[in-house]
């Protein structure tokens, strides 16, 4: 680690609270010029909040922020850009229908003496600028014609042209092949030599070891520490991320013997291969994997939101043939989507309507109209059972808090009396109290005999509520952990999620020194 480089970013004692959550508490982060600084932690550890503060999207409650020696007490997104902070998201959004050159020089195209755009100079300048960074792209090509890695590299280059000093890379490799990852890393390394600093956010720890110089670990909104990567190995890093194993939720299994969901050899090219799994009555099964591991697609495919590929699926001993959500619900499979704002709720409609969307056909009176009496009683029962806090069932759903919104989605699904419930990141973006409530609901449903499959990247959460945890890596189920066995530890699970094998002493060969 070359400490002779100037300090680009110094964040000290950053705290930030949201109602109900202490998102960050006294966190420090120091980044030097020419450094690639990893930022790791589980979901909800505070990475995104920290970055949002750095980008001026959120204001910190306390702490100091210094960029290039300039001190900021509060910052707007615009000031953050001015100060040289650039953010490159996983999915880069650019002006697709325009050429690479125009995207680079947008708003500032070179003009000739007549004030007209000089296209020759534009292409030349764009080419030269890219060349200086060692990036060879056809500047005449439209951006929509580029591959993902080119678009990401172009976004990095664009940030540098607008004088970025520090670039935040958020999971840039999730949709990339190995070859493309190598190209991207090569590019990032060459920029590093020019003194550009990077903050690298990734769940792929393997990549953190491959490209980062130092790594900062966050856990539950607190700083664990900043470490030099070469003095670390993956199990150690995972231990830092997970911390002490505290069970925050106690439960007893209500698993019965009859299988409810049986998946045999399900394969969809490019998403998942040869998936076999069984979920029994009253059993809670966790399914975890990195972005792109296929766990998320599997959930959506089961519900009929995506194509399913080939293979057999049985629900309650009958072949499961649903091609769209309606049929899936009718055949006893309900799904809680990850993005509840987009897929879960109709925000501008009242709670009452949202709860009964899935079961309207059961509420019809002999005239074929909805019986408001039946509807109100049913909705009131679910509001009471799940403890939804709302002034009245007529309240618009988007006025509720995140936790209560999630409970409304649960009510909507539970109302269909499913035999198998697939939950996708059920506790994302909701506060701790509501999380406990959600766990309680899951338990309650399981004890009523519902089979539950939770797709989640929160290992701690899975350990708390599941009877079994399956791990998916690269489209395949690679490991299975049973609750209560000694090998079932957060460290081991995370290791397999990262593609390692807990039974081999030598973890993961790609860690090169």
């Amino acid at each position: 680690m070359d400490t002779s480089q100037p300090v680009i970013l110094e964040m000290k004692g950053i705290s930030k609270a949201f109602p109900g959550v202490q998102a960050l508490e006294n966190v420090d982060l120091v980044v030097y010029g020419g450094e690639i600084h990893g930022l790791v932690g589980k979901n909800g550890a505070g990475k995104s909040t920290l970055m949002a503060i750095l980008m001026g999207i959120h204001q910190m409650d306390s702490g100091t922020l210094e960029i290039n020696g300039h001190r900021f007490t509060s910052m707007t997104p615009h000031e953050a850009l001015e100060a040289g902070i650039a953010y490159v998201p996983q999915q880069v959004r650019m002006m697709d229908s325009l050429t690479v050159a125009e995207n680079i020089l947008a708003g500032n195209l070179p003009v000739n003496r007549l004030g007209l755009v000089d296209w020759k100079a534009t292409y030349q300048e764009a080419q030269e600028r890219l060349h200086k960074l060692g990036l060879e792209l056809d500047v005449h090509e439209r951006v929509e014609g580029l591959g993902v890695v080119e678009q990401t590299m172009l976004a990095i280059a664009k940030a540098l042209f607008s004088n970025a000093k520090l670039i935040i890379l958020d999971e840039p490799t999730a949709a990339l092949s190995r070859v493309d990852i190598d190209r991207l890393f090569g590019f990032v390394r060459s920029l590093k030599k020019m003194g550009v600093a990077f903050i690298y956010i990734s769940h792929h720890l393997e990549e953190v070891f491959e490209i980062c110089d130092r790594v900062t670990v966050l856990r539950n909104g607190q700083l664990v520490g900043t470490y030099v990567v070469s003095e670390l190995d993956i199990p150690k890093l995972i231990r830092f991320m997970v911390g002490e194993d505290i069970r925050d939720y106690e439960r007893s299994s209500s698993k019965q013997d009859d299988p409810v969901l049986v998946v045999k050899g399900l394969t969809r090219r490019g998403h998942y291969e040869e998936v076999n799994l069984v979920v029994h009555k009253g059993e809670v099964v966790g399914l975890s994997g990195l972005a792109g591991s296929g766990a998320a697609s599997l959930g959506r495919a089961l519900f009929g939101l995506e194509r399913r590929g080939i293979g057999e699926i049985w629900v309650n001993g009958k072949p499961f043939t649903a091609r769209d959500p309606r049929q899936a619900l009718d055949q006893g499979l309900a799904y809680l989507p990850q993005d509840r704002y987009r897929f879960g709720l109709v925000g501008s409609r009242p709670v009452r309507e949202n709860v009964t969307y899935t079961i309207l056909h059961q509420l019809l009176n002999p005239a074929g109209l909805i019986s408001f009496f039946k509807e109100r009683t049913l909705v009131q029962r679910y509001i009471n059972d799940l403890g939804v806090v709302c002034p009245s069932p007529e309240q618009r759903v988007n006025l509720l808090s995140g936790g209560n919104q999630q409970k409304v989605v649960f009510a909507k699904l539970a109302a269909t009396r499913p035999s198998i419930l697939v939950l996708h990141e059920p506790t994302q973006g909701i506060d701790v109290r509501a999380k406990i409530d959600i766990y309680r609901i899951v338990d309650e449903l399981a004890s009523q005999g519902v089979a539950i499959l939770i797709i989640s990247s929160e290992v701690r959460e899975l350990l708390g509520v599941c009877d079994r945890i399956l791990v998916m890596y690269n489209g395949k189920i690679t490991a299975e952990f049973k609750a209560g066995e000694p090998v079932t530890t957060p460290e081991n699970i995370l290791l397999t999620i990262e593609g390692g094998n807990i039974y081999e002493q030598k973890q993961m060969d790609p860690v090169r020194s």
Binding site: S48, A328, L329, F343, L400
Partner: protein, 346 residues
């Protein structure tokens, strides 16, 4: 919270207050002439065809789509109905007869209603299956249908529709025109229907959030197609009503009505983005336009000004609508500020 609830209450009923004000204005200016029974019935009569079309438009707008084709359907279906019913006659002075089949109105009426529904289905098919832009599809459909109306009529008017056919548009029960009764019944019926039927729920859900509606087990493509079919059916009904009242088919009938229906719906609080608004709200919009028309007419204002005044009313209604949305967003933001932090990553 109670204050914002109160604001909400007023905002949601703003249009009725405006309507009252406008009526008050005309009452003061035009005197007792305005509040006579005949004039009030005139207002409603004026609102009937527009109202029927507005119901269809509102249902499409609630699903998040425009239906610009309804006025073209009116042109075609009125011409077609006259053409099928009237005896053959050589064209003289741009007046003509029908094809000479002289079909009974009892056959023709189902034909135009079914045809209207089929037009709606085609719109729905193109939009949901071929994923074409709803605005352009229905616009092109409008041009196409109006073109067909000209092709059939050769630009001529066809007077003298049979009595049985005219009953809906021109008949009266006591002093009250049948069309007024039917229109009011339709508005009440559809308000009730959308509120208490499964289709109504689907419609609002699909319009407000198509993805969530799908994930809740609805079929957005089907719902939207149904909405267009209702729109087409209402266009057929409006054609029947209009032709019955005028007793003569003119190929330019219906021209410009699309904008009026969209305007009525928007004035009545139906959101162009879909999923918000009500049929009775749209009715208030229809009434407002109709009151203004009749009132200005009574004051003997130059009819050319009327178009301009209508445009102005639409502008004002829109401005209010936009401000309303802003106030709402403000209220939501202060209320649910807590969720923004945790949702940052999504």
């Amino acid at each position: 919270m109670s204050r914002s609830k109160w604001i909400q209450f007023v905002l949601d009923r703003m249009i009725w207050f405006i309507l009252l004000l406008v009526i008050l204005f005309f009452w003061l200016r035009a005197g007792d002439k305005f509040l006579t029974g005949i004039n009030l019935i005139n207002i409603l009569l004026h609102a009937s065809v527009l109202g029927v079309l507005t119901i269809g438009q509102t249902i499409c707008l609630l699903s998040g789509n425009f239906d610009l084709s309804a006025e073209g359907a009116v042109s075609l279906l009125t011409v077609l109905a006259a053409w099928l019913m009237l005896p053959y006659r050589e064209m003289t002075l741009a007046q003509a007869g029908g094809i000479g089949w002289e079909l009974s109105p009892f056959i023709v009426i189902p034909i135009i209603l079914v045809l209207g529904t089929v037009i709606g289905w085609i719109n729905g098919f193109l939009i949901t299956r071929l994923r074409m832009n709803n605005f352009i599809v229905t616009l092109a459909m409008q041009l196409f249908l109006r073109g067909l109306a000209f092709v059939i009529s050769l630009g001529a008017i066809m007077p003298g529709t049979p009595k049985e056919f005219n009953w809906l548009g021109g008949g009266r029960i006591g002093a009250i025109p049948v069309s007024v009764i039917v229109t009011i019944l339709l508005f009440l019926g559809f308000e009730f229907f959308l509120k208490y039927s499964r289709f109504g729920r689907e419609l609002y859900a699909v319009g407000a959030n198509r993805d969530a509606a799908r994930a809740s087990g609805f079929k957005p493509a089907l719902t939207i197609t149904k909405a267009y079919m209702i729109g087409g059916f209402m266009a057929g009904l409006a054609s029947w009503m209009l032709l019955g009242r005028l007793e003569v088919s003119v190929p330019t009938l219906g021209v410009g009505m699309t904008l009026e229906t969209v305007a009525s719906a928007v004035i009545g609080g139906v959101a162009l983005s879909g999923g918000s608004g009500s049929i009775m709200g749209a009715f208030s919009g229809v009434l407002l336009l109709s009151v203004v028309d009749t009132g200005l007419n009574l004051m003997e204002v130059d009819p050319f000004w009327v178009t301009g005044v209508r445009g102005l009313i639409i502008l004002v209604a829109l401005l209010l609508e936009v401000q309303k949305a802003r106030i709402r967003v403000g209220a939501v933001a202060t209320r649910s500020g807590s969720s923004t932090g945790t949702a940052a990553k999504s």
